[in-house]
């Protein structure tokens, strides 16, 4: 591929980024190709070393904030529609309000409950871990009553179980800590995947 072909293709892929962003990117890659060629590479080699224009465009798009991606989608949509069809859409939105409103609300509900469920899992993990620990402490305190009322074996039994429970609680708390971190990391990956989905659909 020649330098011109590559840059034209790249420009097409990132056309929906802000204007000065497009110009800056093209200038940058143009300079990179020229510098590589001056360093002894052929034009084709210099272009090939940069990777595909698709992957460059995808990375640039995914690095945009979520709000910018949505805004661009809306603008894309607006620029494709004539004023008449926009008016028609508004009328339809109003008339069909009883139909789409419940759907929208339930979609929002699903999203909220999704995050609530994940939050609940995290809270539950910590609650279980901490309550095991509290149970252990309570048993150790309770064992003093065993000793006081001269049921010595019961006292030792309670202390033993209490210490075991505290040990279990420490392990569970460490486990909860890593589980929380893991869940948050998964959520980040998930949100990033959704962002990529939006970006990819722009190219479809």
């Amino acid at each position: 591929m020649t330098k011109r072909e590559f840059l034209d293709k790249l420009r097409l892929e990132i056309r929906n980024l802000p204007y000065d962003e497009v110009e800056k990117t093209i200038t940058y890659y143009e300079e990179m190709i020229s510098d590589r060629m001056e360093d002894g590479a052929t034009e084709a080699e210099a272009v090939a070393s940069l990777g595909t224009s698709e992957s460059i465009a995808r990375d640039l798009q995914a690095n945009q904030p979520f709000s910018a991606i949505i805004k661009r989608k809306v603008n894309d949509y607006k620029s494709k529609r004539s004023p008449e069809s926009t008016a028609l859409i508004i009328v339809l939105l109003v008339v069909l309000f009883p139909f789409w409103f419940p759907v929208l609300m339930s979609a929002l509900g699903v999203i909220v409950s999704f995050f609530a469920a994940i939050g609940a899992i995290i809270i539950a993990l910590w609650a279980i871990s901490v309550s095991i620990g509290i149970g252990g402490i309570a048993l150790i305190i309770a064992s003093t009553f065993g000793f006081a009322s001269s049921y010595i074996p019961t006292g030792f039994f309670s202390i033993g179980i209490g210490i075991a429970l505290i040990g279990l609680a420490i392990i569970a708390i460490i486990g909860s800590f890593y589980a929380t971190k893991g869940i948050i990391k998964l959520l980040e990956l998930f949100i990033h995947a959704i962002k990529k989905l939006f970006v990819r659909r722009a190219h479809a």
Binding site: T25, Y28, E31, D35, D59, N63
Partner: protein, 108 residues
């Protein structure tokens, strides 16, 4: 390597390179490729971020009948290098601690 960690390392590498003198994109990639894995496409967002945070300034110089964009480090950029080095003093302490524990674990 963790993405956030790599990004921070690359930013510091670019600033350190510019601290030696003004440079341009391809030269930066060439000089750093011996130290850390970097390509033109990974360098681009880093330069953008450093410019946005005013760690470097961009200016154009004519070269062989075309314009080449040069990057110059600012005071903020130099401060950033110092911050990075201070932070990594902490990290190396933690590293020593962690690897010490691991050795203890292997002996037992």
């Amino acid at each position: 390597m963790d993405i956030q960690l790599k990004r921070g390392l690359l930013e510091a590498c670019v600033l350190a390179e510019l601290d030696k003198g003004d440079s341009y994109g391809y030269q930066i990639v060439k000089d750093l490729s011996g130290v850390v894995e970097i390509s033109e496409s990974t360098l681009y967002p880093i330069l953008k971020r450093l410019e946005a945070s005013e760690c470097l300034r961009v200016f154009s110089v004519e070269h062989n009948g075309r314009l080449r964009r040069y990057y110059r480090i600012t005071e903020t950029g130099r401060k950033k290098i110092k911050e990075f080095l201070n932070e990594w003093e902490e990290v190396t302490n933690v590293y020593a601690f962690i690897s010490g524990i691991n050795k203890g674990g292997q002996q037992s």
